[in-house]
Symmetry: C3
């Protein structure tokens, strides 16, 4: 393999993929730190967010409202994001991203066992010169949960046999 | 540090490492989605796979057979791969890869507690122009397990004192 | 986006970030393999390490001493590092790094339940031509723990409401 095999497109994708990954990691960080305003700023104003089939929001303002109360509902959370796969569109203005999540939740309510979430994020991020990369679509799908407070999940769609 | 310090080799390794990582993440994805044919396609025809000292396969066809039944054995799995370290050979035709795995397993059998696997993947991938990077060797070693169905593991080789 | 938008600085950061990440992953590997001398070699001689408010070390020699006994205290550990974010200084001689940790611990003491740690690493690494990147500061902060042996943690600083 010679250098000439390296296209500028490949290098540009590497640089931008790292920036995209960082948005995912900042999201996890702000969530665990309970900084809902910083979380909401990672989304476009016309974003779509789905945490479950009956639990989501259209638009950043509505999404921000769903974050009210998480500060008192959990005493702690820890979000671990891995297996990140990024695909760009031709103009590198949007990125389709798949990742895996293991999240641990400690509830404020006494006696409630810790909740565990195992699943996938399916995201679309868009880029503009002012804000860089931001989520325009974020959907959380569950492989499975243990003692988790949200009862209905969007399944990952595992083949049944 | 100036630009001239950046060799084309370093950039090529970055680009190829990202492709190698993607094969690891696609493996985890297909496993959790229960898509055994897509899984097998990530391996070379002469691959060697070891999930345990008494549990593995030589060749893609034999490996594919070991995947029969996982669709009914588990109701769900979730594979989280991180700490990925990639080393290439001189010609960049093969890659030696070490990563860490946390895997959660929910069994079909009623009353069977969830199984947890903590360990390492030790892989060799090879590249050809037709298929890109594929596993030619994949070995799973266990740091430890909790309520896991496979009783004998390949140990990571932790120093004893 | 055209190629000319790609600065050599961005490419250099990518290359160096990968090397920095590897130090984090080697640390986790040596810890799980119980190789304390290899662990200590990842630190500068004047490093500062904090595992808790009352549990840390100043200098590599003192840090090395804190590792004595882990070989008999645990039968196994598994450290999963993800969400790695790297920021470099202007001259690329130091890197400030944030990452997330899920660590599983199996104790030697009979009947002691497995310990789980969920939290963040906050690191500073420095680079010299002889050793490459090494930790000069490593601080472990806890989102929360379950059945963990260290009772007092440095908190991540989650906002309270």
């Amino acid at each position: 393999m010679t250098t000439s095999a390296l296209s500028s497109r490949e290098l540009t994708e590497l640089v931008e993929a790292q920036k995209v990954e960082r948005v995912l990691y900042d999201y996890a960080y702000y969530l665990d730190m309970n900084q809902p305003d910083d979380l909401a700023a990672l989304f476009t104003s016309d974003c779509y967010v789905a945490y479950g089939p009956d639990f989501g929001a259209e638009g950043r303002d509505a999404y921000r409202k769903t974050l009210d109360g998480i500060g008192t509902f959990f005493t702690a959370t820890s979000h671990h994001v891995s297996n990140v796969v990024v695909d760009f569109d031709e103009e590198m203005r949007s990125a389709t991203v798949r990742s895996v999540l293991y999240a641990w939740h400690q509830y404020t309510k006494e006696g409630k066992p810790d909740g565990h979430f195992f699943g996938q994020y399916h995201d679309v991020l868009v880029r503009d010169d002012e804000h860089g990369w931001r989520f325009t679509r974020r959907e959380l799908r569950a492989a499975g949960v243990v003692d988790f407070h949200v009862k209905k999940q969007i399944p990952i769609g595992r083949a049944s046999a």
